[in-house]
Amino acid sequence: MTMMTGAEIVIRCLQEEKVEYVFGYPGGSVLYLYDELFKQDKVKHILVRHEQAAVHAADAFSRSTRRIGVAMVTSGPGATNAVTGIATAYMDSIPLVVISGQVPTTHIGQDAFQECDTVGITRPCVKHNFLVKDVRDLAVTIKKAFYIAGSGRPGPVVIDVPKDVTAARCEFDYPAEIRLRSYNPVIKGHSGQIRKAVQLLAGARRPVILGGGGVILSNAAERLTRLTQLLDFPIATTLMGLGGYPGTDRRFLGMPGMHGTVEANMAMQHCDVLLAIGTRFDDRVIGNPEDFSAIARKIIHVDIDPSSISKRVRVDVPIVGSVPDVLEEMIRLLEAERERKDISEWWKEIEDWRSRQCQKYTMRDDAIMPQYVIEKLWEITRGEAIVTSDVGQHQMWTAQYYKFDQPRRWLNSGGLGTMGVGLPYAIGAAFANPDRQVVCVTGDGSIQMCIQELSTAKQFGLPIKIVNLNNRYLGMVRQWQEMFYSRRYSQTYMDSLPDFVRLAEAYGHVGIRVEQPGEVEAALKKAFVDHRDELVFLDVRTAREANVYPMVAAGKGLSQMILADENM
């Protein structure tokens, strides 16, 4: 065994874990770590412009692959800046390892320069965290961190490393495997429960399947697709589950929930059996839980996390287990089961709901409809791009109008709803998928929350396409103010917006302004074809007061949808 410094150990452990990229920002407490990064070239460091973006980029690296994202930040403000990124990943169960520097152990608790209680601050928004006070614990702690982050229901793990620990020396020994007596996630679903579920599915007359983010996270999209097609059941996916089932298939109903389709919401409300997979019955998905629970239907719920089951909605057949394993077992049993109910009446009902065309919108001659931009974007990218979004109206329009056929192509902050993720997500995804087109759909509010990352994109020559749906409003808040606060647009008008085209140019990128509906297609082509290898910032001036429909107001039941005027 060889003697190593703590800093050498950290970098060696990252190499052992086959970490390709670390997104980070240096500082006083991580100087030894950065010195070791400098001395090797296996682990590549991506310098961002703000620690929040480092964590978001690592998060997107993970979302768009299946691997664990890694970020590195310094103590104090470095760590506090990372918190939004960590909380974002936590809410969406994204596996991350975040290494934060800390002041030397002798200084901890002394209010030292750039000291903060990182473990205390991050405790409520991590799957687990560690403060390593002894260099001899370092390697095994890193092993634990990667194991915990990636197994069971994934999540971010923070390792706080004091500066003196990175300088201290000890023998290096990286354990090949790790077992924790206090942590043994259940993988295999209960076979009796699975059989019960299969019987319910086979006997259902009005069934519907709901796939969530867990389908994507566990790489179960292919199995979910097989199961759905085997049963020929209608399927909806949540915002986080988009791409878990082909969005262009006829069985796909769209998203349920606050901005869900009529067909998805009505199917959820009128089904007799609901098969919910890797989803947590979030308030944005089921509306008012009392209304949701008042409807008689049998619910089968598959999830790796027991605490997600019967948290907001009582379920009839809970199955704790890994989603792909449970689906595989269901498929096996269903293939043997010949008895199947005729559900053609149910399909007719669903087609009736679908025929209301709840996402139809009216084109205007004088203003660009944001929905149209997303439809064109889908056409030009042939539905194959990795699309990131920020948070707000543009996020919902992208979710509604870009038909995702594949998993891990749609990256957005579903749980925490973090404005500012779009550009750093695009950066993380671009590193993870150098051969794939990466698009960031954003808005004039969100893009300004991490706009400094245009500089990172320039440094690494990332050919990201940014589609800024610019309506000069904080559109989603304005929409609520219009609908529920008598049009009192409190603080939602974005006065003094920058000239985004010149701003993009100032960072060394291509900027294109799009003002007329007729210009949209040509501008997209210019960006995706003529400037293929460059970052292009498309500043698209959209209809100012366009709203996202359908909409279920907060606290209402899913059947109480508000539709666009023309569809009422």
């Binding site: 405790r123 409520p124 687990h128 942590y183 996390d305 605490s307 948290k311």
Partner: protein, 163 residues
């Protein structure tokens, strides 16, 4: 309903704050909380008295199990169990109150463990409700100070909470 939840967790820095933080973050209620290492000093045993509907208690148990440092969780109140709490209570004990206070301590099987001209410290062990009842039974004006450990509990019979 009142529940006594027993937890076996890693005896590591910060483990207690993970449990306490979970309760405050999710809006669960803590009536009492006690914690100390077990015969195996790598383990701590923690007892929480809480209250809530069956759904809330189910969530509390699941959320506790999710914490990485938590090894086992059991709701003692689901089956036969014993609960004990220790109270030290300092009371005024002068004049005719002095004899009365001694009598009350005897009735409750308490022990007087500190004596001055004017005060007693009484040590009392029992269920939480027994300690409550002692406080109710004596004149409130005579109580100078009380300190309670919170409830510890253990299952009756051969059920054990062990790694």
């Amino acid at each position: 309903m009142r529940h006594i939840i027993s937890i076996l967790l890693e005896n590591e820095a910060g483990a207690l704050s993970r449990v306490a933080g979970l309760f405050s973050a999710r809006g669960y209620n803590i009536e009492t909380l006690t914690v100390a290492p077990t015969e195996d000093d790598s383990l701590s045993r923690l007892t929480i008295v809480t209250s809530g509907s069956d759904e809330v208690i189910e969530q509390i148990t699941k959320q506790l199990n999710k914490l990485i440092d938590v090894i086992k969780v059991v709701d003692l109140s689901e089956a036969a169990h014993i609960e004990r709490e220790l109270m030290l209570i300092k009371v005024r004990a002068s004049g005719e109150d002095r004899e009365e206070m001694k009598r009350m301590a005897d009735i409750y099987r308490g022990r007087i463990i500190d004596v001055t001209d004017a005060t007693y410290v009484i040590e009392l062990t029992g269920s939480g409700s027994k300690l409550d009842s002692f406080i109710q039974a004596i004149d409130a004006d005579l109580i100078l100070e009380t300190v309670r450990t919170g409830v510890s509990g253990i299952a009756r019979g051969d059920r054990v909470l062990k790694v």
